[in-house]
Point group: C2
Chain length 399, copies 2
């Protein structure tokens, strides 16, 4: 039984609700999410493409369209659950006379498929071959190159094309068990990496050196560094602080807004430490921010509006000690993308659902003073939240 | 004096040659390359945008368009050489009464700029304000979202829009001194990381464990892991082999096709080791592949066609021991993108120029047997090549 990243029921439901016959994933996030296929060059560059076509009526008839140069990954990746493959493009592979492993035989099969020439041509041919040329196709516009949408419309005149990026985001919002497992693992790795970094705290250590300790732990735990905002003192007020040669001094705030990627899934947590006893205002403000997140936790459950969570968090933070507290959002979903839906914003009427994974956060940036932030990752259960890491973001005071 | 990643002369020359009044960078690679501005969310996600407008007549009048939430990075990044900034979008920042550092004052200035609302609106307004509404604009299509090109055309009816992604690639092909420094650093980090990984070789170590040692060294050297294809035995024949639980056995080939990112610049080198004395065919084939790269090195100099380098490398490899050797390319440029131009392909008439940085490679993948590969990074000098790392890719035999 293959693990599934894709929430199949939810995709089918979204398709039926919107009268969609098939989804077409094009962006790296949606290709990996919907098929389990991680196509290297699509992820590390802009331009290379891979697609997935998912017919709503029969998901098992889905098809992955992959560059010939990346077929090896299709054969080797355990997450791939789609048997139908179309390849495109030239790649030269020699073949031994020796007996083959199952993995090598599978690759040989894939290389022997007919060549679909290029990504878009292969997509059009597949749609025709799979009887979808008159269908309503929800195409993920985010992964198309300029002109490709128009090209599709021209070549498939009887099809009805609708944009799918937001639809995919809606499907991705409720996680499968396997996704929750990975999100828990990567959140825990982020937390452990913060602890490893803080062990290095000493007068004169630079942000770069502390970041090095952070990322080393992440790599030791088999995750990939992505987000590593680590700032000392007044630099901690920079929302996206990039580690510099600035050095740690007694009394400094240390702000982490960090998280890597593990088996395609992202982490994003924030932690605050002070190097020595904090200024009383730091302690008070941090407690207020923490109270804001805890108040959000108390109300998050299936059926609550995202905007209601925002209101509760902001009001609780104000009441607990930062009367002027203002924010555009107090959190967001997380998954294969660092920002999944729902966004916890004042205007968002979306309802919280069981299985959503979210980063709930109350950052406070005061230019010239410091930045403080609580950001925790949770999964929504039937009766409330479950934290996906050990700590809930209390202030760490280093001696 | 700011270091410049952008080859300013070459951009101006390309603009004059093609009758272009201004370039508009939109993809993360071209935004960072042309302005020195690394806009975090644009790099780690798909969707967020930042732009740069570069008037050919007066580059000093260039303008960066940045999300308000990423203004801190503009103020803090040493590579940014463009003084004109337009910000867009809402972001709440509190401000202390305390005296400010220069860095904080600069941020305060930036936050005080008028709000351009959103990326595309800010771009259109800037183009009008800077007197470019009737100009020929070369717009990097790769970083635009679907519909934005059409929107620009509609809102700037007197402007003439031409696609700029390939033009930018042409400009980026010849590196500045600062770029060569970074490319040398990151290539050296990749080489050092291979050595650190090979130190772990022992019977039963997994590919994952060896990759962990590889990436740990990369992070210790302040680079970010990107490419980490490491495969043992028959798995080494997978071009994009992703480290697995497969374990090392006596006699195995170990193939590395690897490289991180350092200060925005990519590495991509390949190295082969055998765990114990290699099968004679491994040794012979590897020597042939090495001879192919060395033959390419002998002919690479300014004025030579890319296709001629391809021919020389393939013929030399065949002659030296792999008579059936076939490839689609024997290398590519490298810079902020892992694949810059020129591509060393049979059909490419582009001339090699002084200052190009290229990965020259002769991979050989034999399904069921193993993969062997030599890939070295060089800069083109007036009289030939200069290697950007220590070794030239000889076979390492581990005892």
């Amino acid at each position: 039984m293959k693990t599934s990243l894709l929430n199949k029921d939810r995709l089918v439901q979204a398709g039926r609700k919107s009268g969609i016959d098939a989804f077409v994933a094009t962006s790296p996030e949606n290709v990996t999410y919907s098929s389990g296929y991680w196509a290297l060059s699509q992820w590390i560059r802009r331009g290379p493409q891979a697609f997935v076509v998912l017919p709503v009526r029969e998901l098992q008839a889905s098809r992955i369209l992959a560059p010939t140069s990346l077929l090896d990954q299709l054969a080797d990746q355990d997450d791939v659950w789609i048997p139908n493959i179309t390849r495109f493009g030239y790649f030269h592979m020699d073949t031994s006379e020796a007996p083959m492993t199952a993995l090598d035989s599978r690759q040989q099969e894939l290389y022997a498929l007919p060549d679909g020439k290029n990504a878009l041509n292969a997509l059009i041919e597949s749609i025709r071959k799979d009887g979808l040329e008159s269908a309503t196709l929800a195409v993920d516009e985010l992964g198309l190159l300029p002109g490709q949408w128009e090209h599709l419309a021209r070549e498939l005149p009887r099809a009805s094309l609708v944009q799918a990026t937001e639809l995919f985001r809606g499907v991705r919002a409720v996680k499968t068990d396997e996704e929750v497992r990975r999100l828990r693992t990567v959140a825990t790795i982020a937390e452990r990496s913060v602890k490893a970094a803080l062990k290095q705290a000493r007068v004169g250590i630079s942000e770069i050196e502390m970041a090095r300790a952070f990322h080393t732990q992440t790599v030791q735990d088999d995750a990939t560094p992505v987000l590593g905002c680590i700032g000392f003192g007044t630099r901690s007020a920079m929302p996206n602080v990039h580690p510099s040669k600035a050095t740690l001094q007694r009394g400094d705030v240390i702000r982490f807004d960090v998280g890597g990627r593990y088996k395609h899934y992202r982490a994003d947590i924030a932690r605050i430490a002070t190097f020595g006893e904090p200024d009383p205002r730091v302690r008070k403000y941090h407690q207020a921010l923490h109270a804001g997140v805890m108040a959000a936790f108390d109300v998050i459950r299936p059926g609550v509006k995202a905007s209601a969570v925002f209101e509760v968090a902001v009001q609780a933070t104000r009441k607990a000690g930062i009367p002027h507290y203002a924010r555009s959002h107090v959190g967001h979903g997380i998954g294969v993308d660092g920002y999944d839906v729902p966004n916890l914003t004042p205007g968002n009427d979306q309802l919280i659902e069981e299985g959503m994974v979210m980063c709930v956060e109350t950052p406070y940036y005061e230019l010239g003073w410091c930045g403080l932030q609580v950001e925790n990752t949770i999964v929504v259960r039937a009766n409330g939240i479950e934290l996906l890491h050990e700590d809930d973001g209390n202030l760490t005071v280093l001696s």
